[in-house]
């Protein structure tokens, strides 16, 4: 073998070893145990709330049938979206490992938040969400940023939810000006997401123009087309069940497209 050919292969081998080492560490059994304990606690909290509200419902004079129907309908309603969240765990596990993805998508946040914040944290360490580049130092830093960033909802619940819900119970009818502000707040949320999407999509288009690095833009196009098809089938053809899978399904198709293009 020509020495230059070997020099080219060597960094690839080292990168591959680094990748395996990082993912092996990120998927260590002890990390599963930590995640399992935390999730068990949150599941216990859910059970406590269920028992308390069920007993209160009975004491309020609600029929057992209505309460049981609320439980069974919620359980059946949740199964499909949960499978979609599971697909998100699979998608994140390739770069962040299974235990962390399992924790992050089982409690607080959602796929969109977790992926965006992971990218922001990785970028600020001069990295990207690539298992060949990331180290365990990066992983724990990303995890801390993700956790702190989403904690405000919990903190507000602990500190002001009681006062806020009391205030709501005695709230006078909303004035016209509050209604107007409220309606803009929904536009503001959509606008914020449009800004977020435009930033990432714009960077992929620019990468394609400047560096001829086409894979991200092709992946984005495939998942956008898939999302369009899912939405068309759900809204125009009555396959409403697909609404639950549109985001995760489009992502999986986009990512599968990236594999096929790279072959």
């Amino acid at each position: 073998m020509h020495p230059y050919a070997f020099a080219g292969i060597l960094p690839c081998i080292i990168r591959r070893i680094q990748m395996q080492t990082y993912l092996a560490k990120a998927n260590a059994p002890l990390l599963y145990l930590i995640v399992g304990v935390i999730l068990l606690f949150v599941a216990g909290l859910c059970v406590v709330f269920m028992i308390k509200s069920y007993r209160a419902g009975i004491k309020l004079g609600m029929s057992k049938q209505v309460l049981k129907r609320a439980i069974t309908s919620s359980a059946t309603f949740t199964v499909l979206p949960s499978v979609s969240i599971l697909l998100g765990v699979i998608a994140l596990s390739g770069s962040l490992g299974i235990p962390m993805s399992w924790l992050r998508l089982s409690v607080i946040g959602n796929l969109q938040y977790e992926a965006t914040v992971a990218q922001i944290a990785a970028e600020n360490m001069g990295k990207k969400l690539d298992s060949a580049i990331l180290s365990m130092n990066d992983l724990v830093t990303i995890m801390l940023v993700m956790t702190i960033g989403i904690s405000l909802g919990c903190l507000l619940s602990i500190t002001v939810l009681k006062k806020y819900s009391h205030a709501l119970q005695h709230k006078p009818a909303a004035s016209t000006s509050t209604k107007k502000t409220k309606s803009f707040s929904s536009f503001a949320m959509v606008a914020m997401f449009i800004g977020l999407c435009a930033t990432f999509l714009g960077s992929y288009i620019a990468q394609a123009i400047v560096y001829k690095h086409m894979l991200p833009v092709y992946t984005a196009i495939i998942s956008a087309i898939a999302m369009g098809i899912f939405e068309y089938l759900a809204t125009q053809k009555g396959f409403t069940v697909l609404e639950n899978f549109s985001l995760a399904g489009s992502m999986i198709l986009g990512m599968a497209g990236a594999i096929l293009i790279s072959l």
Binding site: R16, K59, T78, S82, V140, T141, A224
Partner: protein, 224 residues
């Protein structure tokens, strides 16, 4: 039949106490997780990257967290909110699930019955999600070598393009006019200054502000 000794306000007090204690402990455990991961794997936090990342994330997510809190509490009620904020997936799962359960139970908005149905619904939904993901993870562990196969790498490297391609289709469709300028701004800026391509975390704050500013102008002019 209604139990005359039952006081709904006492029930609410109990829910608040349990919620506050439960969430405090849950949040502490979640915040401890990165430190435990670091301890187990011998890793250290990258403090140079941590602070700027945190500032950017908080600039983006503090306003949206406050808005979400103000909107979700009247929609779900206290019991459901305590659980929803610790279990996540609120917009995409917990709210539609609670609304569907209320429809089925035919409870009236703002009544104690409504609060109880919402709490039951969000608690059930959270448990089912955790169970489905747990079963999925059990199946996923034997598949780890497949997921780590280099052939799969392009897929995981392009997680974000896949996410934002799909989301762009979803959100741009809601208001194409609003999407044109932020997208064009980002493309032109990154083409003229290519180093900006790797600065998405900073630019998304600016681009988000541009989009919200534009939305406000369009809202004022009734163009939305």
């Amino acid at each position: 039949m209604k139990d005359k000794s039952f006081d709904y306000n006492i029930y609410l007090e109990d829910i608040h106490t349990t919620g506050r204690i439960g969430l405090s402990l849950g949040l502490l455990m979640l915040l401890a997780a990165p430190f435990l991961f670091a301890l187990v794997s011998g890793a250290h936090f990258n403090l140079q990257g941590l602070w700027p990342a945190l500032v950017k994330v908080l600039i983006i997510y503090i306003p949206s967290s406050i808005v979400e809190f103000l909107i979700y509490v009247p929609m779900l009620g206290p019991g459901a909110c305590y659980l929803a904020f610790i279990t996540g997936n609120i917009t995409n799962l917990k709210i539609p699930c609670a609304f569907s359960a209320r429809d089925i139970a035919k409870s009236e908005i703002g009544t104690p019955e409504d609060e109880i149905i919402s709490t039951l619904s969000v608690a059930t939904s959270s448990l089912i999600t955790m169970l489905v993901i747990f079963l999925g993870v059990l199946l996923l562990i034997p598949l780890t070598p497949v997921l780590e196969n280099p052939v799969m790498k392009p897929a995981f490297d392009n997680l974000l393009p896949a996410l934002f391609g799909a989301l762009s289709m979803q959100y741009f469709k809601k208001n194409v006019k609003l999407a044109v300028f932020p997208l064009a701004f980002m493309v032109v800026l990154c083409v003229l200054i290519p180093s900006m391509i790797t600065q998405t975390s900073t630019l998304l704050i600016a681009n988000g502000a541009i989009a919200i500013g534009l939305a406000y102008l369009m809202f004022k002019k009734n163009w939305l």
